[in-house]
Every structure is written in C-alpha cells, then in structure tokens.
C-alpha cells in the first residue's frame, strides 16, 4: 500500500520535473510552397512559435497565419482573405508528441530521425497527422526540421475553378525551428 503511494508520488514528481527543461523559439521559419506548371507560389513565416519537452516528447507549434509573407501583395491578400480566412482563424496550431522520443538523446550532439504525431489545426479544422523529420542537437540547442505536404481539401480550403491550375492541391510545408532551453520559474 505504502509502496504504491510512493510510486504514485514518484510518478508525479517525474512528470513535474519533466516540465523543468523545455526548449522554445519564437522565431522559427516555415516555408509555404505551391508549384504548378503555371505558377509557383512561395511564402515565408519567420515568427513561428514552437516548444518541445525533451523528456515527455511533447512538441507544439503556434503560427500566426497573417505573418506569412508572399512575393506578391495580392497573393498575400488573397491568402488571408479568401483561403485561410485569417480574421476568423488567426492561428495554425500543432499539438503532438515525438513518437520515438526514447531513441533521441537530447543531451548529446548529433542528428536524429524523428516521427512526430499529433493534431494539426488549420483553417478551423483539426486533423491527426504523422510526419517524419530530424532533430539536430548542437551546443545545447535543438534544431527541428521537416518537410511535409498539406492537402488543401483536408482543411476545407476551397480553390475556385478559375485558379485551380495556379494553386497546387497539396502544399509543401518546410519547417525549420531552432529551439533554445528555457529556465522555467
């Protein structure tokens, strides 16, 4: 009985200490890339929020949709106004976990392959996703990188017939975040 309680307390303590050493960034980079024979559309967001807990493997993103910068002002306007409806859905959010967190030694420099699973919310629609990426640990920083595709249809982003040939049905998203350790109070 006593033993059980102590296990429980220990479990709680472990999870509690796990909060201690999170890594975070507010200046991560996400690239948006759509290519069709007619038009290539590229946009960059340099103010991506991301945080990671190397012990539990929790991994989150929060992206202000309006911060995407396009080459053409009109594209940016249409992106916010017609497709992403950024006034209604200001943020894109990912909440998930590194599935193979046990294989990654965040204390040791090196590059590790990772599988990240979780829920991606874009345009008010939440979908379970699983993507591959890499983590590079160097000088106490964690760099997370991944390239994956987001089908517009999955997130109910409708493209009218007139511009169907200009916009790819599946958008390539490249994520590059450099996370630094935070001291939790």
């Amino acid at each position: 009985m006593k033993k059980n309680i102590s296990i429980m307390i220990l479990a709680l303590l472990v999870t509690a200490t796990a909060f201690g050493q999170n890594y975070v960034t507010k200046t991560g980079h996400i690239k948006f890339y759509s290519e069709t024979p007619i038009e290539t559309i590229e946009a960059h967001n340099y103010s991506v929020n991301s945080a990671i807990n190397p012990v539990s493997g929790d991994f989150v993103f929060k992206v202000l949709v309006k911060s995407f910068e396009f080459e053409k002002a009109l594209m940016q306007e249409h992106f916010n106004e017609n497709y992403m409806e950024s006034d209604k859905y200001p943020n894109a959010v990912f909440k998930g976990k590194i599935a193979n967190v046990a294989d990654i030694d965040f204390a040791k420099d090196g590059t590790y392959d990772a599988v990240v699973k979780g829920d991606l919310s874009i345009h008010g629609v939440t979908k379970a996703v699983e993507e591959k990426g890499t983590f590079t640990v160097k000088d106490g920083k964690i760099q997370g990188r991944s390239v994956f595709n987001v089908p517009l249809e999955d997130y109910e982003i409708k493209v009218p017939g007139a511009v169907k040939k200009q916009i790819s049905e599946s958008i390539e998203i490249s994520v590059d975040v450099m996370l630094e350790e935070v001291q939790n109070p």
Binding site: N4, A11, A16, N22, V24, K26, K72, A73, V163
Partner: protein, 298 residues
C-alpha cells in the same frame, strides 16, 4: 487487490492528465502575444468602388492596369443596342510608390482627356496597439482635355484645358464584409462652357461595399452636389455594381448615370437621370503586376 488496481488507475490517470497539461504548458511558453498594430486591409477589392476612387492604393511596388469602359445610355433602345454601340473608354496605369503614395496616369476618349493623379494615405484604420477608427486618404487629380479649340481664332490659353479634382476619402471597414466610405470632393474647372456655370463644384460622396462571397461584392456610390448652379442644372451621380475577383484580375460591372471615368467629368456634369433611364452600363478590368518585390527578411 482492488485497492491496488484503483491506485494504479489513479496513477495512470494522473500521468495522462500531466501529459495533456504539459502540451498546454508548452503553449504557455509562447506567452501573451504582444499587442501589435493591425491595419485594416482589403477594404475594397479594387482601387475604385465602381467609377470613383476607393480607399485602396495599389500595393507597394505594384503596377495596376485599368481599362474602364462606359457604354451609352440604355434608354436609346434597340437601334443603339441599349447603348452598347457607343462607348467611351479610359486606359490607365497606377503604381504604388510605397505603402503610402500611389500615382497614376490615364487617357479617356471622352473629350480626348489626359489625366494624372496622386493618392496619398494620411491615416490607416488599425486596431491593437494603436487604434484608429478610420482610414483617410487624399486624392488629387489633374485632367487636360486635348480637343481642338472650338474657335481657333480666339485667344486660347492652355490653362483653359485643365480641370482638377480634390477628394478626401474617409473609409471604415466595419467587418470583413462591410465597408463604408465618405468622400468630400472639390472639382475646379478653369474654363466652363457658360457664364452661369460654376468653376468650383462641391460634392459629398458616399459609397460602400457588401461582400456576398469571398470573391464577389456588391458596391455602390452616390455623389451629392452641394446646392448651387451645378446642382440645379445637373443630376447627382449614382452608381451601383459588383466586383468579381479572379486571381490577378478584378472585373467590375456597374450601371451609372455619370459620364466618363474621371472625377472631373462624372461628378459635375451628369446630364442624365436614373428615373429617365439615362443609365450607362460600364465595366472596369483591373490587372495587377508586381514590379518591385517587397523587402524580404533573411
């Protein structure tokens, strides 16, 4: 045994909730978003409501090519194919020099007129760190008609060809779908046709748009002439139409009792009235080109 099970369950439960919390805790690390100043954008789809100027400028570094077409009045019946046989056209270019200033030039077939304008943003509607309820712009235009002198033997001055428009555009985007705009206007003509005609004509315009889908909006504008000789002799100009946006093009179709595509003409000399069926069908086709790339972060 049961107790043990219970405790184990509890432990699992705690562990599970801890996990859920920890993702949200991670989210908390991002902190409160610093209040930024968010400027209203896309108050109108085009730089024109229908014929008249909207609060929108061509974006920085963007060149806009506008073709405006105004047909004859529909009450001319089938012989003139409801006005479609006659048309006046304006071809124009507009360019956004920076985020605040745009310039433009144009040529109208009506009175063989050249025009040049500047549109300068004075205030921008914003929320967040800095609150500004309305956007305000100044629009100034000069028009030069290049018709042959009616009486070449008379002493003719070049300045007689010139007329000017000054407008203050005050707009508020109330919601994604609704924008309202006021435009106090002064038109000055250096030379008028008759003695009684006014050189200076004041008008108050009001206009707006309602979006009916992400790509289509209904727009209307009304220019009220301040009582005077011009108001006695001419009609107020009312225009209603809609915008259809398709990628890089904006197509605007409208009906109006105004003539011509520039302020100097369509505000002070609308000789036709809606009630008499002096309605011109017209359209603008707008194409936007990115000439200068906006600066990009590393």
């Amino acid at each position: 045994m049961i107790k043990r099970c219970l405790i184990l369950c509890l432990a699992v439960f705690f562990a599970a909730t801890a996990q859920v919390f920890s993702q949200d805790d991670l989210m908390d690390l991002f902190g409160e978003e610093e209040p930024k100043t968010e400027f209203a954008y896309a108050s109108f789809k085009s730089t024109r409501i229908c014929i008249g100027q909207s609060i929108e400028n061509p974006p920085n570094g963007n060149l806009i090519f506008v073709v405006s077409h105004h047909f004859g009045t529909i009450n001319q019946g089938f012989y003139e194919f409801f006005g479609l046989d006659q048309a006046t056209t304006r071809i124009g270019f507009e360019y956004g020099i920076n985020d605040w200033i745009a310039i433009g030039i144009g040529r109208s077939t009506l009175k063989k007129t050249f025009d040049g304008f500047a549109k300068i943003k004075i205030l921008r509607q914003s929320s967040g760190a800095r609150n500004m309820p309305v956007s305000v712009s100044y629009f100034g235009s000069t028009a030069i008609n290049s018709l042959k002198w009616q009486d070449p033997d008379r002493q003719n001055y070049f300045t007689s060809r010139m007329s000017y428009a000054h407008q203050i555009l005050i707009a508020r985007k109330f919601s994604n779908a609704l924008t309202f705009q006021l435009m106090p206007t002064l038109i000055h003509r250096n030379l008028v046709e008759r003695d009684v005609d006014e050189n200076d004509v004041f008008s108050i315009g009001a206009g707006g748009r309602v979006k009916i889908s992400n790509r289509v909006s209904i727009n209307a504008e009304y220019y009220y002439l301040i009582p005077g000789q011009t108001a006695d002799d001419y009609y107020n100009t009312f225009t209603i139409g809609f915008d259809i946006e398709t990628g890089g093009h904006i197509f605007q179709l409208f009906a109006t009792n105004g003539r011509g595509a520039i302020e100097e003409y369509y505000i002070p000399q609308s000789s036709g009235s809606w009630l008499n069926g002096d309605i011109h069908i017209g359209f603008n086709i707008t194409r936007s080109f990115t000439v200068k790339q906006p600066r990009r972060k590393p």
